[in-house]
Symmetry: C2
Subunit: 266 residues, 2 copies
Amino acid sequence: MLDKVKNVIVVLSGKGGVGKSTVSTQLALALRETGYKVGLLDIDLCGPSVPYLLGLEGSDIYQCDEGWVPIYTDETKTLAVMSIGFLLKSRDDPVIWRGPKKTVMIKQFLTDVKWEELDYLIIDTPPGTSDEHITVMECMREVPCTGAVLVTTPQGVALDDVRKEITFCKKTGIKLLGIVENMSGFVCPHCTTCTNIFSSNGGVELANFAQVPHLGTLPIDPRMGVLVGSTSSVLSHLPDSSTAQVMRHIVQQLAAATAQPQEITA
Amino acid sequence: MLDKVKNVIVVLSGKGGVGKSTVSTQLALALRETGYKVGLLDIDLCGPSVPYLLGLEGSDIYQCDEGWVPIYTDETKTLAVMSIGFLLKSRDDPVIWRGPKKTVMIKQFLTDVKWEELDYLIIDTPPGTSDEHITVMECMREVPCTGAVLVTTPQGVALDDVRKEITFCKKTGIKLLGIVENMSGFVCPHCTTCTNIFSSNGGVELANFAQVPHLGTLPIDPRMGVLVGSTSSVLSHLPDSSTAQVMRHIVQQLAAATAQPQEITA
């Protein structure tokens, strides 16, 4: 039930391992910290990362008359989370499902979860442009989909896949809110020299070329590792880090881009 | 037609972006350099990377009476490559396919491609345990499947997904040839201090725990970037690098592990 959700933002990336789940999770936490009510839905059925990243592994989902109750990260109930990870008996269990079964599950996540009033629902997707993505886009015809945030790393092979994702969004009519370039430059903690391990600026150039807003460029920061397994936002935990500064700017841009539908539906 | 193929090795990883395609490609090149005839099949339909990594983008696939002819990287015909990337009109084209259509395509790659006599066919897969993987395993019942190589990065979120992949292999009866830990440690080119950006030793510990051979640990080496877009093996291009040494050792172990089926089918 998405009827109480004001904005739905889908986080996409053609390629895997570019930090989509980390960006989704930190984006949800940052939006929450800015004062919004946020939901986070993980539809990566074969590789759900959100429970692990937020330290929610082993949480149990309960069913009420109106459907599944998502996991709330604390008693303020400002962050609601749903993932297939909560439905698996063991974290070693693989989800060996073909497409049609995945489609049913994702439809259930969108229609049978009791999402309360939310300012933002962030949907973290698996890599690619297949069953999961087609299903979300189909379900999005009935509910307001605000748009997509594309995550990429700067190297050519990732950009190739993001180009495909841009074409996918255009074909399915989803608005492109912008591109986030992740893992751009690593500052050696010993000598503070920055090395562009995975090349640099590819995301910025692609954003310019495709005329999609460039939302920000996030560096590789090993300190981010301490946030894994907790619901700490980089904004509060490492407020002076370049990651926090960029994330703050991304939240501002998304809030500005989504201000109008919020007023209409409010 | 896989009847002339002596060994089929499937490269798996639960998580995306761990370097599966780079490992697959360099493994194929290293096996070729060791004197074997090698095939490389890329079944990542939504994000094919192999044509880009080998500099074969824009190559055209021809059809002969017996099926599709794979792309040979040079006139020695010691490396044959097949990928959906060769069948797309533009590299920006996304493959927006649900599972059943992907299944048909992968079956075609295995049965309708004219694979000549090969010592090794390396199959590079997308992340996850879904349509692509189920289809390959089903087709593998009719042809000899030597086993699977699992690629992981050292951090917890990747290891979680590899655990799922190990369970998948056990459930589908595929032999685990071993685990490759990738992106383990970055040596700053300025001060030569090694930072374990994505944690360390996770792959080794998982291999011990799951009683799967640990094939090797590959570092993050920005010099590997120069190999992108060429058919140069790290063995010949950066022979003294730690990547080359580890890759040589991986090839030796795989050759030893696959020696017996080779003799039987020879």
